[in-house]
């Protein structure tokens, strides 16, 4: 699994990592703060962060000890857009189906009338 998109989706496969990303949407947080609500060690959270970082979803500033974690919203945004684009295509396909369905009912009316 080497391609970047698979990496990003795989990184979000874990519920703790999804939760971390959700919490980061409200701003920068330190690893210690991130670890607080979970029943896991700071080390375990760091490991999750490394996965997210490698997937390009979060970054950490090199700021002495604090090193706050922040979200890379562009990547998430594109992931959402990618699904939205797919959704739009499905919607367009179903709008074509709407037209076909309207046509079939006309056929039936004609057939019923003759």
């Amino acid at each position: 699994m080497t391609d970047p998109l698979s990496k990003a989706f795989a990184a979000l496969a874990d519920p703790i990592r999804r939760d971390i990303v959700a919490r980061l949407t409200s701003g920068e947080v330190t690893v210690g703060e991130l670890a607080e609500p979970y029943d896991v060690s700071v080390q375990a959270v760091s490991k999750h962060l490394r996965v997210l970082e490698e997937a390009g979803l979060v970054s950490r500033r090199r700021e002495a000890q604090r090193r706050p974690v922040r979200l890379e919203p562009e990547v998430l945004d594109l992931m959402t857009k990618w699904i939205e684009r797919y959704r739009r295509e499905v919607e367009e396909r179903y709008q074509r189906l709407d037209e076909v369905l309207a046509d079939i009912s006309d056929d039936q009316r004609e057939r019923g009338a003759s």
Partner: protein
């Protein structure tokens, strides 16, 4: 007509799961929606974008039957798809396998159910399950519509940039 009511497609592609769920409502009774899925002429009219011609090469819409169609633009074959009709039930259940010949090892299982709504309307629910999350993503990207692939490439580039910057 469809102009008066607007039924937006809902897509659910849960992170980390190899499935996509699609829900959409139609101003037609289930029997008609079903017919538009199993009648090859009708199906070819709506499955692909207008710029693409869908040619049904094989079509046996019965439980245990099979199907294959190709997509053409300006006479050139762009893609081919095939699968089996695992279950064809006129009361509103259609189960198929789906393979894009460009990725011949990949296969998705597609389950479509039609629910009757008041006023002669239908709620279609489609669930597509791939072998893995990567296979699901590839399945979405393999859509004939180039927009998806372009989106993918842009995201790939951005992600590649980020992961090398992080190193």
């Amino acid at each position: 007509m469809s102009a008066t009511t607007h039924h937006e497609t809902t897509i659910n592609a849960p992170a980390g799961l190899p499935l996509i769920e699609i829900v959409r409502e139609f101003d037609a009774e289930p029997a008609r929606v079903f017919r538009a899925h199993v009648d090859p002429e009708l199906f070819a009219r709506w499955v692909g974008p207008r710029s693409i011609e869908t040619r049904v090469e094989h079509w046996d819409a019965r439980t245990g039957g099979a199907w294959r169609y190709t997509a053409h633009r300006d006479g050139e074959e762009l893609a081919a798809f095939y699968g089996s009709f695992h279950e064809v039930r006129a009361d509103g259940r259609l189960v198929q396998t789906f393979t894009w010949e460009g990725a011949p090892d990949g296969v998705a299982l597609e389950v479509m159910t039609l629910e009757e709504l008041p006023g002669g309307r239908t709620r279609l629910r489609g669930v597509s399950v791939g072998e893995s999350v990567e296979a699901r993503d590839a399945m979405v990207a393999s859509g004939m519509e180039t927009g998806v692939v372009e989106g993918y490439e842009k995201l790939d580039a951005l992600l590649a940039e980020r992961s090398s910057a992080g190193r």
